[in-house]
Amino acid sequence: MVTGTVVLSSLAIALAIGLVLCSRYMAQSEDSVVDEVERILPRIQCAQCGYPGCRPYAAAIVAESAPLNLCPPGGEDTVRRLARFLGRDAAHLASPAAVAGVAAVPASLDDIAVIDEDLCIGCNLCVRACPVDAIVGVHQMMHTVITDHCTGCALCLPPCPVDCISLTPRHA
């Protein structure tokens, strides 16, 4: 009986030492997976998934602390591709309302923000809110949106005090 326990414990300890040695010298590289997941997301930085950008959401997905279906602009297609890539089940897209802190207007690459120039008071709040610096304008002067850079993330709509920004289809 005694020899049995001695044999087992020594065996276990020997193997444990081997594993510790192996884990010491191998380098850890994690972010290549986050890159891959981020590339699948639409990356319009709309923060409607509750994370401040697409990369934080991708990191949350890889760390398995966020479900795959929080991205409204990505739609069902992105959920399916994420599930396919990570080998997980594809749940249906969470309705935007269910996602914390979301703008009422769903973000989409097919739309762009348009500033009604004669209402704009130049308060510069939208410039700070825009994740991709697509709005230009000097303090107290009229601002406007650069159509090529705007991703339709609708983040500039809530902060505008005079509500002069609207989301319109890109190819009107």
Partner: protein
């Protein structure tokens, strides 16, 4: 059907609709106003930038109107600015400048004369000749792009001398060492005519190749591989394989411009199909409404259900016959219901691979179809969707009668949208990262300033700074007390 009679001429409709956007490049810019009187061959639109070409009046008359209208172009119906010309039947010829001396002036003249590839792609001929990539071979494409079209065949039979002279001029312009005339095997008399013309001109640099009449032998990529064994690299044009392809019609137009200074104002169009009384090849002024052309060929016969611009394989259906013939229109088919394909997609794909056997660029349409259904764009890329020349062979060979070519067209459009969005997403990511970096740098500056201030507290000059500030404040308060 239409090679029995010689080329019919003399068609001159009273109304011409000449579109500005007739070439693969940007549209021409009109240089005439409404009501102005123009003579035949006078420029009514100058080239609108690189790869564009001039547009000329196909007959003398007065400009009725210049407005946007539907125009059949290479890849479907688009709207373009059109010059409506009311012809007066006097057929006055505008005077023309001579054939310039050196090479660049000649190429510009060709561009202004509106000479474009008449094989169907309407690529600006001047652009092709100007491109001085080392092309050792000039290929004259006498092979018809589709089975029923015979305009090139008739042209070679009736004007072999002009075609060969045009080819020689092209050789001089491009500096190609040799020229190959590709004529299909089932057109012996066209080949004989062109061979005699070459002998007559006594030029030995021209060779002749009899090409098997297998659709799509007329496609330039297939012709280059057939004649030279070289393959045009994916996504590029024949000059990348050292050859230049020119249609025999383009050579004829170049010769006519060289010798008689006439710009490209008319082209030969095959009118065929059971729905036409007398199928024939007609020399058609550019801008002739198709209705007039059909009327010139004896009008409709039986109930025509579909009017196709181009051949049965790649031509597309037109909504009405009031649309004009442009430089790209090489054939009109008026078809009855029984000779064209009605239903599509009767059965699911049984993966038989007949389509892969007939596919000229050697793709796998059955796997492309599956990838398109699943919208797997990476798979479509590796399967070579961009190399699909939409020739339609797979549709014909498919026992399940699936509209494969149409599915691939839709897949290409969907893919274009997806890749465009991916590009925008990349841009957004870069801009977002740059913004985060800028914000981080700003907060870092603020922190550094605060650290400096904290470090400065307690040193002598900081106490002096504080007292100076206190003094300034009290002085200010003193003035404000006296002011009230």
């Amino acid at each position: 059907m239409s090679t029995g009679t010689p080329i019919a001429r003399g068609l001159l409709p009273e109304r011409l609709i000449i579109p500005m956007d007739q070439q693969a490049g940007p549209a021409a810019v009109p240089v005439v106003e409404v009501g102005q009187r123009v003579r035949k061959g006078e420029m009514i639109g100058r080239p609108g930038g690189l790869r564009s070409a001039g547009v000329h009046a196909s007959a003398s008359g007065t400009i009725g109107a210049i407005r946007e209208g539907p125009v059949p172009t290479v890849n479907g119906l688009t709207t373009s600015l059109c010059v409506h010309l009311q012809t007066d039947g006097r057929d006055e010829q505008a005077p023309s400048e001579g054939w310039p001396r050196e090479r660049d002036a000649r190429i510009d003249a060709i561009c202004n004369a509106g000479i474009v590839g008449l094989g169907g792609a309407v690529f600006s001929t001047a652009e092709k000749l100007r491109d001085d990539a080392e092309c050792d071979l000039l290929i004259l494409n006498g092979a018809e792009c589709e089975p029923y079209i015979s305009c090139d065949d008739m042209l070679m039979r009736e004007h072999p001398l002009e075609v060969v002279r045009g080819a020689l001029a092209m050789m001089d312009l491009t500096g190609a060492e040799s020229t190959v005339f590709a004529v299909e095997r089932d057109k012996p008399d066209a080949l004989r005519a062109v061979r005699e013309a070459a002998a007559q001109l006594g030029d030995t640099r021209i060779e002749f190749a009899r090409v098997p009449t297998v659709y799509p032998a007329g496609g330039e990529r297939q012709l280059v591989e057939l004649l030279t064994g070289r393959e045009v690299p994916s996504g590029s044009y024949p000059p990348a394989a050292g050859c230049i392809c020119q249609n025999v019609g383009t050579a004829f137009a170049l010769d006519r411009f060289m010798r008689r200074g006439e710009p490209l104002t008319s082209r030969i169009v095959t009118v065929t199909g059971n729905g036409v009384a007398h199928p024939a090849n007609v020399e058609v002024p550019i801008g002739t409404p198709i209705g007039d052309l059909i009327h010139f060929c004896g009008g409709y016969r039986g109930d025509v259900t579909r009017l196709i611009l181009g051949g049965n394989m790649m031509g597309y259906a037109l909504p009405g016959d009031d649309l004009p013939i442009t430089k790209a229109g090489n054939c009109i088919v008026a078809a009855h219901a029984d000779e064209i394909r009605e239903s599509t997609g009767e059965w699911p794909c049984i993966r038989c691979g007949d389509c892969a056997d007939v596919c000229p660029p050697r793709l796998l349409p059955q796997q492309l179809l599956r990838a398109a259904t699943v919208r797997d764009f990476d798979q479509l890329d590796s399967l070579g969707l961009n190399d699909c020349i939409e020739c339609g062979c797979c549709d014909i060979a498919c026992p399940s009668q699936i509209a494969l070519t149409e599915r691939f067209r839709q897949a290409k459009q969907a893919w274009a949208v997806v890749s465009q969005r991916a590009a925008m997403a990349d841009l957004a990511t870069r801009r977002h990262r740059r913004k985060l970096a800028r914000l981080a740098a700003q907060t870092e500056d603020i922190h550094r300033q605060q650290d400096d201030l904290i470090a400065a507290i307690g040193s002598e000059d900081s106490r002096a700074m504080i007292e100076a500030a206190v003094a300034r404040a009290s002085r200010r308060r003193g003035e404000s007390d006296t002011a009230h």
